[in-house]
Symmetry: C2
Subunit: 279 residues, 2 copies
Amino acid sequence: MTAAHPRLSLNQATIKYATLDEAVAAAVTAGYESIGVWREPVQEAGIERAIRLLGDSGLRVSSMCRGGFFTMEEGAGRRASIDDNRRAIAETHAVGAPALVLVAGGLPAGSRDLVGARERVRDAIGELADDAAAAGVTLTIEPLHPMYASDRAVISTLGQALDIAEQFPLGVVGAVVDTFHVWWDPQILEQIARAGARIASYQVCDWATPLPADVLLGRHYPGDGVIDFASITAAVEAAGYRGDVEVEIFNQDVWDSPHDLVVERTRESFAASVGIHLS
Amino acid sequence: MTAAHPRLSLNQATIKYATLDEAVAAAVTAGYESIGVWREPVQEAGIERAIRLLGDSGLRVSSMCRGGFFTMEEGAGRRASIDDNRRAIAETHAVGAPALVLVAGGLPAGSRDLVGARERVRDAIGELADDAAAAGVTLTIEPLHPMYASDRAVISTLGQALDIAEQFPLGVVGAVVDTFHVWWDPQILEQIARAGARIASYQVCDWATPLPADVLLGRHYPGDGVIDFASITAAVEAAGYRGDVEVEIFNQDVWDSPHDLVVERTRESFAASVGIHLS
């Protein structure tokens, strides 16, 4: 078996139905050096067990997905969300991941005020920045595709994510470049150059149409769609990013396939299509 | 019956299954002063009959939908598309519409080259500009929501549309502001201000989630979703746009409803939600 690319990381959501134990085992068996974890399976494993399991595995932990959901108006719900994000920062630190991925959140029910919602995202990050800095965790804003702007993320472009991140120290707040979300953006290459060391995570998967009935699940193996990984990867590398690169695929067919096959296909499609240098 | 707003135009696609005769009759009966037509039903009516029908109706014709699909590589297919767009310009002139709405087209099969595809859109418009100027028709580029970037329109933002339009004389090439496609764009208000007199069409309908299985059909009556029409309309008016405002709804439930009810609901939702001044 060929080794996996040394910078390839298996985002756990690609084998969504695997437990943390199963995901770690699948990654190690397939020769991966890195894994991106999600809070829910980490909590199911138990945080102490998860720390031990990940530590013993020899895998790096490239990121923790995910915190955020910051658009609520002030009140008990917003306080609970901020507190939960503090716990997420602690968990991210505990598993040794450098980045906590943040999804902004959608418009609150009944609201049409995108501007206000975006301001509340910034304000929440402001409340969490000191905790993140103390924990050595980068709050990593993930712009999501504009088709999720109403119900999931009012931050749609890398430019918007950087507008927020740049209000905070480097290393404390950064951004994700996820090809699925940003490939269409006419400004993406210049925004990646602008981002420079603000890029705290690079996630890849492909875009293909038609979209499935659940538009969250329209992600594909690199090479199975229309994304020009060569240009985006070159820009990310030129910006100085040298971290792990996660493959994160939400796709019912992929989720329904045996984990070992998915992990292998992920490894091969990554090597064939993503164009990441070896170091 | 109250009259319709004097600047409201019924885009024919809102009652997709109506013939041109039926659409005109529905608009007149409901007190509309304007209609936006589509090429297919106009051709089904016969262009000479359509001219007479529209002329006799007393309705203004706010736009012709649609031309475009310009991303093909050079060859017979591209030539046929350019020629078809020349016919569309002539038809637009013939029915007395000021604007021919252009959809850019998606990535050609097997291509990942967004940059090249976008250049070919610009080049096609360059080939058509003299014809449009001679006919007094504005080639009106419609940025489509980024979820259509791969299969339908490589022009996703008003900024991109203006980057192309500004290479040509004012009045010859302009842009559509369609709320469904651009509401999420963090730059939309500044791009509308930039557009000024380049705005050659303002189309409205609402965005709501979840999207339907066919993501083309997720459009709703104004007020039934999350779009803040007040801010977008104010920006369009501040930019100087004084033309008709089309309601264009692609929605299977709307299409399956009786035309007279749809036309009435369109009129009421427009009056209640869109915020267009009377003149």
